[in-house]
Symmetry: none
Subunit: 154 residues, 2 copies
RNA sequence: CGACACCAUUUCAG
DNA sequence: CTGAAATGGTGTCG
């Protein structure tokens, strides 16, 4: 009910990423929804991991937003959702990007980029179980698979 | 070209196993080829799994060999082929028969038996995709199905 | 130890 | 085409 959030456009982002094999040829996809408008984004990399693709999907989607928004992000990656919902990332930043077991956090550059994008918006995270019939999640899955096949023939 | 391998008879083993339903009534079959000679083996169990039948097929075939041989084993089970080609079994032995995800390896007794048999021979593994027209693989498939029907009527 | 995701093969059912 | 079981692997975190 704050004046701040009322001023922001409401956007929903669905995203997914995959890799075949893992690690290997990967692809990602995202759907941005703003009112009646929808945009689909997708891309791939020849040598990557499943988690990097999941991170890339969110990041690329957020990069589309030109003004501060209220964003609901729907992902099936607990790796990503928990990093923000359970504040893992706050701990990482606090202690020099080390995990709870003192190992360096993987994919740090991607996390830093994502974290900076997140800061511009009012973000709520929603986790949905993969392959459980969620329409937009399944659409992203298909899109990413399609992209991977187009780009890498597998 | 080593004297060791020249001394060994050259044998080829084709094998397959199945289960209907899975788990349930299963059967296996193997073809041993040594020069012009061929022997067919088959058997079944009332309550088993697909993978146990695949393992049993190889094991029973190897048990026929009375002297150390050069053996080419042709299977459509990546479960079995990878256990040896990708050295899964070495890892299992190293860390107390736990899988990569710390679960106990299934069918351990069968693996141990098979591993001991393997050690007596010079074995090369060949994987062939199931139901892809490989004549001996299809023959084994037929044989096993026949056995399952004879023994369990299904 | 737990969780999620990604992937491979086989075996079946409809 | 749609399911599920039997088995394995990696990517990542608490």
């Amino acid at each position: 009910m704050s004046e701040k959030s009322e001023a922001r456009p409401n956007v929903v982002i669905f995203c997914d990423g995959g890799c075949k094999p893992n690690p290997g040829a990967g692809a990602w996809a995202a759907i941005l929804r703003y009112g009646e408008k929808e945009k689909e984004l997708t891309g791939g990399e020849r040598e990557t991991t499943n988690n990097r693709m999941e991170l890339t999907a969110v990041t690329r989607a957020l990069e589309e937003l030109k003004v501060p928004c209220s964003v609901r992000i729907v992902t099936d990656s607990e790796y990503i959702a928990n990093a923000f919902r359970q504040k893992w990332i706050d701990n990482w930043k606090r202690n020099g990007w080390k995990t709870a077991s003192k190992e360096p956090v993987k994919n740090k550059e991607l996390w830093v980029t994502l974290d900076a994008l997140i800061a511009k918006h009012l973000v709520t995270w929603e986790w949905t179980r993969g392959h459980a019939g969620h329409p937009e999640n399944e659409r992203c899955d298909e899109l990413a698979t399609e992209t991977r096949m187009k780009l890498f023939g597998c």
